[in-house]
């Protein structure tokens, strides 16, 4: 059992996250799916760092973490603004994107 197993695990988690994004109408839940995908990527990075015995992977994961935090802040703020404007956070509601 090597660190490679964690990469497989990361792939599965990533897929689950993606499925959540596609399936859930609740913006917050979909957002959590995105977070899971980011974390899956982080897991892979850490696993690679472990395999190569280099710190760079961890650093990269660290950066991802920070960026994810920033993203969450802005994303949640958007969700709140959306909720204020429409009284709902369903992703199916905003139809302005319709061509």
């Amino acid at each position: 059992m090597t660190a490679m197993s964690f990469v497989y695990l990361a792939a599965i988690l990533f897929a689950i996250g993606a499925a959540a994004v596609l399936l859930r109408r609740n913006a917050i839940v979909a957002f959590m799916g995105v977070e899971l995908m980011l974390n899956a990527a982080n897991l892979a990075l850490v696993a690679f760092a472990h395999m190569y015995a280099e710190l760079d992977g961890q650093i990269m994961a660290f950066f991802v973490l920070v960026v994810a935090a920033a993203e969450v802040v802005v994303g949640l703020a958007i969700i709140i603004a959306l909720f204020r404007a429409r009284q709902t956070i369903s992703l199916d509601e905003p139809a302005e994107l319709k061509g």
Partner: protein, 267 residues
């Protein structure tokens, strides 16, 4: 450090709760499941020689990010269970197929990859990380700082609700009230002249008619008021016997009706 126990523990701890993302109905449950996933991942990090990252993961994700999610959930209403029926035609199948396909593709690619692990054990403790972070990646650090500040400001801007109308001053409020037909002067005190200072008795106007509004509304609601007419009759009895010819009760009204204010249903 990488052993099967750790892997399987982490695997179960992450995969099973993360499935809640797809199948659970209540967002709060999902959020709590994700907390579990984050903790599992932190364990994996620690297990793979990244103790600092593991700690950061717990602090940032379980401690900050997921809590923020919960806060937002509370803001927008925690108790809404989501209807999992799909509304977009074919979306479910596309989603499962795409996710499954992605997983298969990724696993296939990973399985195909040949990686020659290097020996040596690097532990990502804070000193090591800091050495790299503040030497090689210092510029990125700075940029990340900007990013975080920008994100914070952005969140403020997004959630800030601007005042759409100018603030109304007391003067304007007063003017509006008068314009709506409010009585400009003070209400008269309850009670009939000096003879009676009971709070439950309406005051009488100079013509001797009772002023209903002078009695506290609370008493009216409780039906504890008294009819001013009785006292008026008493007045008349003493001062002006001519008034006796007036039939009793004619000016008085039914107390229920009297107590009802305009536009308000009697309770």
């Amino acid at each position: 450090m990488v052993n099967e126990v750790l892997f399987w523990t982490v695997a179960l701890l992450t995969v099973i709760p993360s499935l809640a993302l797809i199948f659970a109905k209540r967002p709060v449950h999902i959020a709590m499941s994700i907390v579990l996933v984050m903790v599992g991942l932190a364990a994996a990090y620690v297990g793979m020689g990244a103790p600092f990252l593991g700690m950061v993961q717990i602090v940032v994700y379980t401690g900050a990010v997921m809590m923020m999610f919960l806060f937002v959930l509370m803001l927008v209403g925690v108790d809404n269970a989501e209807d999992l029926r799909e509304t977009i035609k074919g979306q479910k199948w596309i989603a499962f197929a795409a996710a499954g396909g992605l997983a298969i593709l990724l696993i296939a690619v990973i399985g195909d990859a040949t990686i020659e692990p290097r020996t040596g054990d690097v532990v990502g403790n804070p000193e090591e990380i800091a050495m790299v972070l503040f030497s090689e990646y210092v510029l990125v650090m700075e940029v990340l700082g900007f990013l975080l500040i920008t994100a914070a400001v952005g969140a403020l801007v997004l959630t800030h609700v601007p005042r759409l109308t100018p603030r109304r001053t007391q003067v304007e409020l007063q003017a509006a009230r008068v314009a709506a037909g409010a009585d400009p002067v003070n209400k008269p005190m309850p009670g009939v002249y000096a003879r009676h200072n009971a709070l439950d008795v309406p005051a009488l106007d100079p013509e001797g008619n009772p002023i209903e509004d002078s009695v506290s509304r609370v008493l009216e609601v409780r039906h504890q008021t008294q009819d001013g007419a009785e006292f008026r009759a008493q007045l008349e009895d003493t001062d002006n016997p001519d008034h006796e010819a007036r039939p009793h009760g004619a000016p008085s009204r039914d107390s229920d009706t009297r107590n009802t204010r305009e536009g308000e249903e009697p309770k």
